[in-house]
Structure formats: C-alpha cells, structure tokens
C-alpha cells in the first residue's frame, strides 16, 4: 500500500536556491563562462559528449557548469536534453581512414607510413604540478610548426591485412540495432555492444580493460594504432536526393592487435579489438577496444574463462553510468513505508523468537 506523504516543497526550493549560490562560489572570483569551459576544460567536455552520447561541445560545457563539475550529473543533463530533440536520420558510417589526424601513434610499427605523430599529449610529461599555471600571466608560447603532409593516413591494420596476417573487417551494409530505440536484448550483436561501450562509463570500462590485462580473460593487446582527429559527417538528404556534409566531429579511434586464432582450415591470424569515441578521449578508446576484444570470445571460438570482461550481460547491463547512478542514487530518496514494513517484520520475528524461547524453558 502506498501512503501519499506531502511536504518538503519549501525545503526543496530553498535547497535549490542554495545550490545555485554554491554553484556560483565566491563572488569575489570571476564567474566561469560556458565558452571558457568549452575551450579550457576540453577533455571534460569531450567525456560528457561521449558518455552523454551527443556531440555538441557548447551543450556539454553548459551541462558541466550547471552540474558544478560533476561529470556524471552533466552526462545525465545531456541525456535528458537529447530526448527532447527530434531525430532527423542516421549518417553514413564515418570514414576514419580520411581522418585529419592530429595524433596518430602505433605501438606495433615504428615506421608505419604516416609516421608517429604525438599531437597534444600528456604522454612523456613528468606529471609534476606546474605552478606557472597558477600564476596569471602571459599565455604559452605558440606551438611549433612544420611543413604538413597532404593526403590520408593509412590504417595500420591495412598493412597486416595485405599479408592476411590479421582477421579482416570486410565492409557490410545494413541498419545496425539502436539501443536508444529498442531495449537491449541478449545475446547482443557486436554492433549493439560497440554502441553500448561507446557511451559507457570511462571508469567502468577502464577497470574492466585493466582486468583483462591482469589475466581475467587472456588476450594480450598491442595498440596497433591510436588516432585522433576530425572526420566529416555525411548524410543523405531525402528531399535533395544526394549526400552532403553536415559538419565534422573529432573522434578517437583505437585498434588493438591481439593474439591469434587459427584452426585446421584457417592459418593463424591476429585478432582485433575496436574502440571509437567522440572527442579526444584516448583512455576510453583503448579501454573500449580491450573490452570489445574480450567480449568477442564466442565469435572467435575461444573458451569462456568466466572473466567479468567476457560476460556480455555483466558488461553491457552495468556500463551505463546514468542507468547505474539512477538506480544507485534512488535508494537515498524516501523509503519510509518500505522500511516501516521491514521494521514491523523484524519486531514480529523477535517477538516470536522470544515466545519460542519462553515455551522451551
């Protein structure tokens, strides 16, 4: 039975007013603009776009400001906003082979055509706090430049593919399943898994990916290639009858090269895992590739080692931080009636236990 309890409106209004004041912080400190967050907290903006599953840096920056920097709360705001928008259609699959790479590294081939391009990376920094950033003053010196090379940067997997050394990914057409339109059904296709992982929580996927490296589902991974840059987004417009570019998105793509499969009929081949994520989000993209690879055990005829990262239901049903936080955080909301019934039950059990003891004595 539900007992409707009213009250608390004034307390809630006052709590929200205080929240707004706390969000603003000390008024002697200048207020952050959304543009400042977009330009200077870029990697937080990228993470909110990726997990919010909506590419819009301005909205993502606004959500971060509104959420006081709580990124999961910001993702929640983006997911909620997304549901208010009509969907115009689906794009052509992006061609990451034409990416204008700003970073492109391979851990497997030193001399990969196109070169090792570090881009704006934290790698090789000493992770020492830079107190110069705390002092206001001149901006950094302009970055160095060098003559740019024209043309597309080839995928590293293509070199192995030419010799047949790696499992191919032949192009297939068709309409992929969409977990925002139909509820997830298991077993899931790889397309559905990749969609869930692309919007999944970075921390959760990082932990799972790390577990595969430590031996829970043995699949030693090399980063065959990691690339970050802008790709064109193209869509066919029915009223025009042709395909146009709607804009560009920055993506991070990670392709891992993993150990072999082979059989009596197939010679040994490297296998691969794939990560593709909105924005400059390389930790997430690498983690996604490792988890994708672990989840492919059935397709590749490997044994189930009972590892969490191999358990499709465990991974897919728990990687969404909005589903997770929604269920987790609801338990702090009033459960007075539920708990009242538990209280009555435990008192009754104790009473009965007491009576039983008395009767025995």
């Amino acid at each position: 039975m539900y007992v409707a309890v009213k009250g608390g409106e004034r307390a809630i209004d006052n709590a929200h007013a205080w929240l707004a004041e706390e969000r603003r912080g000390d008024r002697d400190v200048p207020e952050l603009s959304v543009a400042q967050i977009r330009e200077q907290m870029t990697l937080a903006v990228n993470r909110v776009m990726a997990e919010g599953s909506l590419y819009d840096p301005d909205l993502s920056a606004l959500a971060i400001k509104q959420a006081r920097g709580d990124l999961i709360e910001a993702v929640f705001l983006i997911r909620a906003y997304r549901t208010t928008l009509p969907r115009f259609g689906a794009t052509q699959p992006v061609d990451t082979g034409t990416m204008r790479c700003e970073r492109r590294i391979s851990a497997t081939f030193k001399d990969a055509p196109g070169g090792q391009v570090l881009g704006p990376t934290f790698d090789y920094t000493h992770r020492l706090l830079d107190f110069a950033l705390a002092a206001e003053g001149e901006g950094p010196a302009p970055a160095s430049e060098a003559p740019a090379r024209a043309g597309d940067v080839p995928h590293v997997a293509g070199f192995l593919g030419r010799e047949g050394l790696i499992q191919p990914e032949p192009p297939v057409d068709g309409v992929p399943p969409d977990l925002t339109r139909q509820s997830m059904e298991l077993p899931a296709s790889r397309a559905l898994r990749l969609q869930a992982l692309a919007r999944g929580d970075e921390g959760f996927l990082l932990g799972l990916a790390y577990s595969t490296q430590r031996g829970y589902a043995r699949n030693h991974a090399f980063v065959g290639e990691l690339r970050i840059g802008a790709v064109a987004v193209e869509m066919e417009i029915p009223e025009l009858g042709f395909t146009i570019e709607l804009g560009e998105v920055v993506l991070t793509e990670c392709e891992t090269v993993n150990q072999f499969t082979g059989s009596k009929t197939e010679p040994p081949q490297f296998t691969r895992g794939y990560g593709l994520v909105f924005g400059q989000t390389e930790r997430k993209a690498i983690a996604m590739a490792l988890v994708d690879r672990a989840l492919r055990w059935k397709d590749l005829g490997e044994e189930d080692r009972g590892a969490p990262a191999q358990d499709e239901e465990f991974v897919l049903m728990h990687c969404d931080n909005i589903q997770a936080t929604g269920f987790l955080e609801h338990i702090k909301l009033p459960h007075y009636v539920d708990f009242q019934s538990e209280l009555e039950l435990i008192r009754k059990l104790r009473r009965e236990a007491g009576e039983g003891r008395e009767a025995a004595e």
């Binding site: 794009t91 740019a148 709607l246």
Partner: protein
C-alpha cells in the same frame, strides 16, 4: 578550389563554416533577399554511425545536434540549410547562400562568400596540420661501436 564546388560541395562548406564568418560574408552581399520559409529552422539530432574495425559492419556511435531549414526566394529558387549545432541563424544563412547559388547572382556569391570560406577553412586546417607535423617523431639509429 571553390571554382569546382558543386551543390553538395558548397552545402558542406557552408555547414562547416564558422557561423560568425558566414554571417559577416552574407551581410556583405547587401540586403538579405526576401524569402518564404518552406521549413523554418528546427534543431534535432542525427545518429552518427561508425564501422567496426574502421571498415566493417556499421554501428551507432552516438548523436550529433543539427539544425535544418528550407526557404524560397522571390525568383523561385529553393535553398536548404543543414548545419551541425543549434544555431538557427547559421542554418538560415546556409540556405540563403544555397538558394542564391542557383540563380543569377551565383558568380558574385561564389566570389564573395564561398571563396573566403574555403580560404578560412584551409587556413584553419593547415594551422593544425602544421602543429601536428611538428610533433612527428624522427627516429635516430644508434650506431653500435662494433667496428
């Protein structure tokens, strides 16, 4: 390069342009031509797709905001705007230029709007490409003293 752009090419260029740059260039064309809305600007999303392994079967990566509109000029030309983001002015300017490019003023619009947009985009892309090129690793072979 803008001499070669066909309709799909200029629509893409207009979509990728900075909204502020496009607005300034459209303002440079003089009075905004009278137009009727066939579809007033509306914001929605498109589902961006990727391919497994970069080349394999398609999957849904996530959505992107898009604003679209369609308008008709007094001479009957119909222009479409489909631009990334939520800027309705950007979509309108793109549709106006698309319509003008189909009429008598196409040459003028190409010179005054498309050419500067191509130049701005090329400069923006080259600036980043040159920075990336400066971070390309040059390996040195260590010569071992065996001889």
């Amino acid at each position: 390069m803008s001499e070669e752009l066909g309709r799909a090419g200029w629509m893409g260029l207009l979509a990728r342009a900075r909204a502020g740059d496009l607005a300034r260039l459209v303002a440079g064309l003089g009075d905004v031509p009278a137009h009727d809305w066939l579809r007033p600007p509306e914001t929605g999303t498109v589902m961006v797709r990727g391919r497994a392994g970069g080349t394999g079967a398609p999957f849904n990566l996530g959505e992107m905001t898009v604003t679209r509109c369609a308008l008709r000029l007094a001479d009957g030309a119909v222009g479409h705007g489909h631009v990334q983001g939520r800027d309705k002015g950007h979509a309108r300017d793109a549709a106006l230029v698309d319509a003008l490019m189909q009429g008598m003023r196409a040459g003028e619009v190409r010179t005054k709007v498309l050419c500067p947009l191509v130049a701005a985009e090329t400069a923006r892309r080259m600036a980043r490409a040159r920075r990336a090129a400066a971070t390309k690793v040059e390996f040195f072979t260590m010569v071992r003293g065996e001889e």
